[in-house]
């Protein structure tokens, strides 16, 4: 685990690019045990999570990452990631502020998202 921060950065870039361009493409990041908490609803498993993300009722979405931080998890192989930023949905003029926490765990030579906790944190 020499460079967890680099892994985290790669992950963040990939995650939000994919989210903003092709949500379906996120399915590979999750496993059957993965948990997504989107606002106050919880979804488990890659298929359901992907469905949830895809079904979010907006056409265009753009994440603007303002902060990112990461720490290696105890045991040395996982990573905890905290991201905050703004979310522009469709043509809505006011971006929404969000905070998102990920738990990334290794699998084979790569990582998957064990936990994904998303929250809007500012009154629109």
């Amino acid at each position: 685990m020499s460079d967890y921060s680099a892994v985290a950065e790669q992950f963040i870039t990939y995650y939000y690019n994919t989210f903003d361009s092709n949500r379906q493409g996120l399915s590979g990041l999750y496993r059957p045990t993965s948990l997504l908490t989107f606002e106050s609803t919880q979804t488990q498993g890659s298929a359901d999570i992907t469905e949830k993300l895809v079904s979010l009722p907006f056409q265009k979405v753009e994440h603007q990452v303002a902060t990112k931080d990461a720490q290696p998890l105890p045991g040395g192989s996982g990573i905890v990631v905290l991201v905050t930023g703004a979310l522009k949905v469709d043509d809505s003029p006011a971006p929404l502020s969000f905070a998102q926490t990920f738990i990334l765990l290794p699998e084979g030579g790569s990582y998957f998202v064990a936990h994904d906790i998303f929250k809007l944190v500012y009154p629109a």
Partner: protein
């Protein structure tokens, strides 16, 4: 034992020995109160024979000149000869019409004052000499002329030696006297003003969202402060029972009380005991959360009236009272209130015994605890989460060194990042501060920080390194008592050898030493992610801690979830469909949907987020109805205001709120009213009211009121002037949402 020497200190023994009880007399002896003074056997047929009772000393001990009717009490009170009203009970003196009635006074027994002092005090205050004074059980019995009863009852609840004396008739009063009592109270203008005032205070202190009656620090409440209730103990002693009574009157039945008030906060009222508020247990017997924080309760005796009351009490706060120092304090509390789950924000290790009637009790299904952090996300392990959060943040605030030693070990990591681009809560310049000097040097935001060495260095590992960063950060205050300020998710997490909780917490804190504006402590919003594992000793170990600080953005982003019942999917109003871009109708989830509706209403009405949310809430999250309500609620007198079932909000640029006595506006507004003007009242927040304040507004175009130096708007340009009194300004935070 002589009448003179048998001083109050002996009372307890006397009671135990029954020597005084022996003289308990039936009313039959009223007119001949002296008869038994000789200490001979009771003469009345209804008098109880008490075995082993010793005859009282003969009256020959009475000092020369002493009025004979003091005889019965001479065992426990000094001889007096200066009673102002030598009630005509002595033989030969005419008796007052209606005869005498037996009264009793209680409430002194836990106090330091002796019986004789109590009686002397009473006589002084009542300006009435008490006949046949004697202790019976926990009471002092005495007799007074019937005609004096109404006067004497006015002193019921009088403050004495740190407690309140309960003065009651022993038997039911004759109807004639009852009639004399009731009108006296009702007619009293003062009493009505008092009731009205207390009702106002209650309404302003009711937090609907958490169903909490916040009666904390009433001494500083602007309305009460001006009223003189806290000027002296005696008036204060009246205020609390009156407040309890008014509170009781707000509800028609027990279910209504239970559904409306879950928590009561009596913190910081300098209570020495709870006698003044004892009736709370009768009014809200099913209370779940109770705070007596920062009072002066030293022993369980002072809580006695509530012993075994509040049978559903789950959370009690007594921190800041000397009683918490008693040995076995926690155990004893649990004995008195068996349903307690948590005391002073610390859980009892074992759940309370299951109650047959209470389905909500029991581990795993803890009810909401409005006095502390309240979850609104997904919570896997409620009790551990609550316990950790409610112990961690106070520790972090008060003693970071201790905090790091308690919760962190050599493997623990901490890092902080700052989001300087997050929006501030619009309109709130008071708390907001956009200076980040004290945070930036430690910020590990990898969007900005590109140097790998710096990235590595700014992740602190181990207590020493963590403490070093913490030392550079401003002091903080996280209010764990206000559930509305918090939101968190808690996940059980397990991988490899690690089993613990993943917590993401969203909230706010103050920086007590950092002043934003107007002397108000600045606020920040934060998100903090913890990985917490058991420390092996019953506590918690923070393995990972990531703190994100941003500008203060308020908490309404998640209040929508906690406050609102899950709304029916909002109907897109026709107007909305016509006016809004189509893609905005298709919104995210209900929460997101609501946020967007709030935004739309804001843009169409100029309402602030909070008020827009309230308006939507009141109209069932129907934007069209909300708009309609907004327009229709424009009051011709007060200008633009939105009237809610329980009050009125007039919103103007979020600058100020006025609480208006409902009496003054009964014709115009239902019940209570909140009015917000567009003047710079902000600086007068929480100022004290004056009477006869005039609030008015032009009939068209909203209020053009002027803020007077006292902080009250007056308006004379309009055709109608509404007289309002009293008018108290309250802060946004005080508003009941």
């Amino acid at each position: 034992m002589t009448g003179r020497s048998s001083l109050p200190a002996n009372l307890g023994r006397n009671r135990a020995g029954g020597g005084i009880q022996k003289r308990r007399q039936s009313a039959r002896l009223d007119r001949e109160g002296d008869l038994d003074m000789s200490g001979q056997a009771p003469t009345g047929p209804r008098a109880r024979p008490i075995s082993g009772a010793k005859p009282r000393p003969a009256r020959s001990n009475t000092a020369p000149g002493q009025k004979p009717e003091t005889g019965p009490s001479k065992g426990f009170r000094p001889v007096r000869s200066n009673a102002r009203h030598p009630v005509g009970t002595v033989n030969g003196i005419k008796q007052p019409a209606g005869g005498f009635i037996e009264m009793k006074v209680s409430g002194w027994k836990d106090l330091k004052a002796t019986n004789s002092e109590t009686i002397l005090f009473l006589e002084r205050r009542l300006k009435e000499k008490l006949r046949r004074v004697r202790p019976v059980g926990d009471n002092i019995m005495f007799q007074v002329p019937l005609v004096k009863v109404p006067t004497i009852l006015e002193f019921d609840g009088i403050k004495f030696a740190g407690g309140n004396l309960r003065i009651q008739p022993v038997n039911e009063l004759p109807a004639s006297i009852q009639a004399a009592i009731k009108p006296t109270v009702d007619r009293s203008e003062e009493a009505q003003q008092l009731a009205s005032l207390l009702k106002n205070v209650l309404q302003s202190r009711y937090v609907a969202a958490s169903k909490m009656l916040d009666l904390s620090a009433l001494g500083t409440h602007p309305q009460l402060q001006g009223s003189g209730f806290f000027d002296q103990d005696s008036t204060r002693a009246k205020m609390f029972p009156a407040m309890m009574k008014v509170a009781d009157e707000q509800f028609t039945n027990r279910a209504e009380k239970r559904d409306s008030v879950v928590s009561v906060n009596l913190a910081s009222n300098t209570l020495n005991d709870i006698s003044m508020v004892a009736s709370l247990a009768a009014t809200f017997p099913e209370l779940k959360n109770l705070s007596l924080e920062n009072n002066n309760i030293t022993t369980f005796k002072q809580l006695e009236p509530w012993r075994f009351k509040f049978r559903k009490l789950e959370q009690l706060l007594l921190t800041g009272n000397p009683i918490t120092q008693l040995p076995n304090y926690r155990e004893d509390c649990r004995k008195w209130w068996k349903s307690l789950i948590m005391l002073d924000n610390v859980y009892y290790p074992d759940p309370p015994p299951a109650s047959k009637n209470d389905h909500s009790a029991g581990p795993g299904s803890f009810p909401p605890m409005p006095l502390m952090i309240q979850p609104s996300g997904v919570i896997d392990d409620q009790d551990h989460t609550n316990e950790f959060l409610s112990t961690f943040f106070p520790a972090f605030d008060t003693d970071r060194k201790l905090c790091v030693q308690t919760f962190y070990n050599n493997q623990s990591m901490f890092s902080i990042s700052v989001n300087v681009s997050a929006p501030r809560l619009s309109g709130d310049t008071k708390h907001n501060i956009q200076k980040w000097d004290s945070y930036i040097p430690k910020s590990r935001n990898m969007v900005r920080l590109r140097n790998p060495t710096a990235i590595k260095d700014r992740c602190a590992k181990g207590p020493t390194a963590i403490q070093k960063i913490w030392d550079t950060l401003p002091r903080t205050f996280h209010d764990v008592t206000d559930p509305l300020k918090w939101n968190y998710d808690s996940k059980n997490i397990s991988y490899e050898d690690t089993v613990g909780m993943l917590l993401t917490v969203h909230g706010e804190y103050e920086e007590p030493e950092n002043v934003a504006m107007e002397g108000v402590a600045s606020k920040r919003s934060f998100t903090r992610t913890f990985l917490v594992v058991p420390n092996g000793a019953g506590g918690y170990l923070v393995r990972r801690d990531m703190l994100l600080v941003r500008a203060y953005g308020g908490s309404s982003a998640w209040q929508a979830e906690t406050l609102l019942p899950q709304p029916a999917a909002p109907q897109a109003a026709p107007e909305q469909a016509a006016n809004a871009p189509p893609q905005q109708i298709a919104v995210l989830d209900p929460k997101e949907q609501m946020l967007q509706m709030i935004q739309q209403l804001m843009s169409q009405t100029g309402l602030t987020p909070k008020f827009a949310e309230m308006c939507l809430e009141q109209t069932g999250w129907d934007l069209a109805k909300a708009m309609q309500a907004f327009n229709e609620a424009t009051d011709p007198v007060l200008g633009r205001c939105i009237i809610y079932p329980d009050g009125c909000f007039k919103q103007q640029n979020d600058n100020a709120l006025f609480y208006i006595n409902p009496d003054g506006l009964m014709d115009k507004l239902p019940n209570s009213a909140f009015v917000c003007t567009n003047n710079a009242i902000y600086t007068y927040q929480a100022s004290v009211t004056t009477n006869n304040t005039t609030v008015g507004a032009g009939p068209e175009g909203g209020p053009q009121g002027v803020v007077e130096p006292e902080g009250f708007p007056t308006q004379t340009t309009g055709s109608t002037v509404v007289n309002v009194e009293p008018c108290v300004e309250i802060t946004l935070e005080d508003a009941p949402y």
